[in-house]
């Protein structure tokens, strides 16, 4: 069965955490060949542009409260950039910029 993660406020998570981890790692696999900074930005901006904010929060909660179990290290790096806006490339299509 799917892992579920009880959120701090007791609300139902938007979806099962193992789906979130799987999807995030797949995104990480794509951006892996890019140099570190571009890789992290690519992951960040993909999550920012395509993921429902509740999915992003679930991912960040896993990283910030759970140590990011199951996530590739570079996926965590990219996801952490979601907490700030300096790496935002809004409305951009193409290879990750840095």
């Amino acid at each position: 069965m799917s892992m579920t993660q009880q959120q701090a406020d007791g609300a139902i998570p938007v979806m099962a955490l193992d789906r979130i981890v799987l999807m995030a790692n797949q995104i990480g696999d794509f951006f892996a060949p890019y140099p570190p900074e571009r890789r992290a930005e690519g992951i960040r901006n993909h999550l920012r542009t395509y993921w429902d904010p509740r999915m992003r929060e679930e991912l960040l909660a896993l990283i910030e409260q759970g140590g990011g179990a199951g996530l590739a290290p570079h996926v965590m790096e990219g996801a952490k950039l979601l907490r700030e806006e300096t790496h935002a490339k809004p409305g951009y299509y193409g290879p990750p910029k840095a």
Binding site: V14, R19, W51, G94, P95
Partner: protein, 716 residues
Amino acid sequence: MPNPLKPEKSVVTTCAYCGVGCGFKAETRGGKIVRMTPWKEGKANHGHSCIKGRFAYDYYNAPDRVRTPLIRASIDDPWTPVSWDEAFAYAAKEFKRIQAKYGVKSVGAVSSSRCTNEEIFLTQKFARAVLGNNNIDNCARICHSPTQFGLTNTVGAGAASQHFDSILQADVIMVVGANPTEGHPVFGSLMKRRIRQGAKLIVIDPRKTETVESAHCKADVHLAIRPGTNVAILDSIAHVVVREKLYNEEFVRARCEVNEFENWKALVGSDNYAPEVIGPLAGVDPDDIRKAARIYASGPNSAIYYGLGVTEHSQGSTGVMCLGNLGLSCGMLGREGVGVNPLRGQGNVQGGSCLGSWPHVFSGYRFVTDYETRSSFEAEWGVPLDAEPGLRLPNMLDAAVAGSFKGMYIMGEDPVQSDPNQHHVIAAMRNMECVVLHDLFLNETSKYAHIFFPGSSSLEKDGTFTNAERRVSRVRKVIEPLAGLEDWQITVKLMNAMGYNVNYTSAGEVLDEIARLSPNYRGISFALVDRIGSAQWPCNEDAPEGTEVLHREKFPRANGLGTFMLTEYVPTAERTNDKYPLLLTTGRILSQYNVGTQTRRTPNSMWHSEDVLEINEQDSISRGVKDGDWVKVSSRFGEIEVRARISERVNPGVVYTTFHHAKSKANAVTSDLSDWATNCPEYKVTAVDVVRTNGPAADAARDAATPRIAEMEPAE
């Protein structure tokens, strides 16, 4: 035979089936459709047709067509026929109740690529402006979402670069993961015409399809790859292009981001992608990889056509990027006879993509996170809009299983039959409190629906379709809607019932709103399409009658340059092992269409009455399976029973089936893996085993116990 009866009237309209979008004349006699004949001025078909559009139209009048709205409190209850007003009021009450209880984001909507542009646009308007969230998706999610993502990231536009006729200027035709002679027959005929004139043909497909070899057409190279190795093989072709310096340096320097080209060269040019490495992995001769690369790069005009064999993978978007990279590197974009072109499965997949039925973009592929775009929609619609992306269809289902998603408006879709990992989809459906299904028939999903809106077929309504070559054509009402309302009217009335006041006197007014809000459609109107027959977007001040070939001068990216993505091959997690030693891949056949909702009701089923499993003789012998035997196909996700057909079309280790019949439940076995970028399901690769059986097991008691319509009465 006596002389036939002469039709009395004729209306020019657009076919409801595949993405070719043929023009037809629907001929009537006594108010009934008696014939569909191909329209000679149809710019996608030039007077030609296929078995589906030409003959399989009578489904519209099938006895089990639902002609009155239905509701029920629980999916275990029988349906109760009600008036339209009652159905709208009930749906509105339920959506409001759920949103009050579980939050604004606990509901969403899905539109279909069989719907018109106007309906698709209205469905996203319903989600964004009325439900107040961005939980809106469409069925391109499960077929061509990687096309939008992969092409936009390389060439800047997630659409075919060419018009169909362009193929008559091609010297080399490369077909990847597509079978046009079955899936897009009228385009397939045009392709064959060009091959008979001497164009070379490269086919990349695990299966020896009809496209590989047929009368007077034979592929110069067929790379019969193992399912799931697309990216590896395309990178290997790129490797040969790079190492043998077959790329078009002049084009790349003038038209592309050179730095990214160099990065790409370093990646695909590495020894990892040498044909001698990739050939054994993909199950093809390294010399054939080199041959394919040399033929493609030498053109002089090489055109790529691809289908779901590229997109429906965990690396679907990467595969599309590979094609974009390849086209750019060899300079095969921006003129007649070249290009990178998706072949769209359903009539309006391109429209579905263009018109904002996505959780992250408005019509015209502009992000919901973008303030200016959002403001323009807020101004037109008069309500504040959600600034964050919503849930995609698979994520809505995931969220329904998790319990955070409770209601859905499904327009013209059958997720239970067509979405992957059927058990998961059913669990999601059962967990929802209000599923509103808007369709012609009580499909598989209807078993889990609470409200049913009887829709109108494309013969019963006005609107437009956008075909695979970006061509916007008219859908015209030939007969009155059997259930009383055109589909776009149903969505508008649902919006009204929810308290959102909007009114359109015709579908043309919806198109006018689309044109106001979407740059590529700015010049398109019923008046224009009626006057010139059809128009390919972009259609605007610069191109008042549309644009046939994209990217002639520059690419629609901020700096006008094409770019290269790094397309590292990442094998899918779906692997064969001792328990599941074969790879199952899926496809379609000429006479049937997708899940068969339309074609299974017509005599087309005489050609294909059931889905069968193609299996190579070697694999069949080792399993004691003879031609025509029943076999059980099992995967990590489920099992199905179908008959086996021993076939040389598939290599040892690969089995193939179609997914047209509900009873064979092909998606009970497909995996829950999906594309990394878009969640497009990986239908094309599932590890399975095949064993001989004595026949179909008595199926789930659920089917027998399914509540049917209690009684049918006409709507008020």
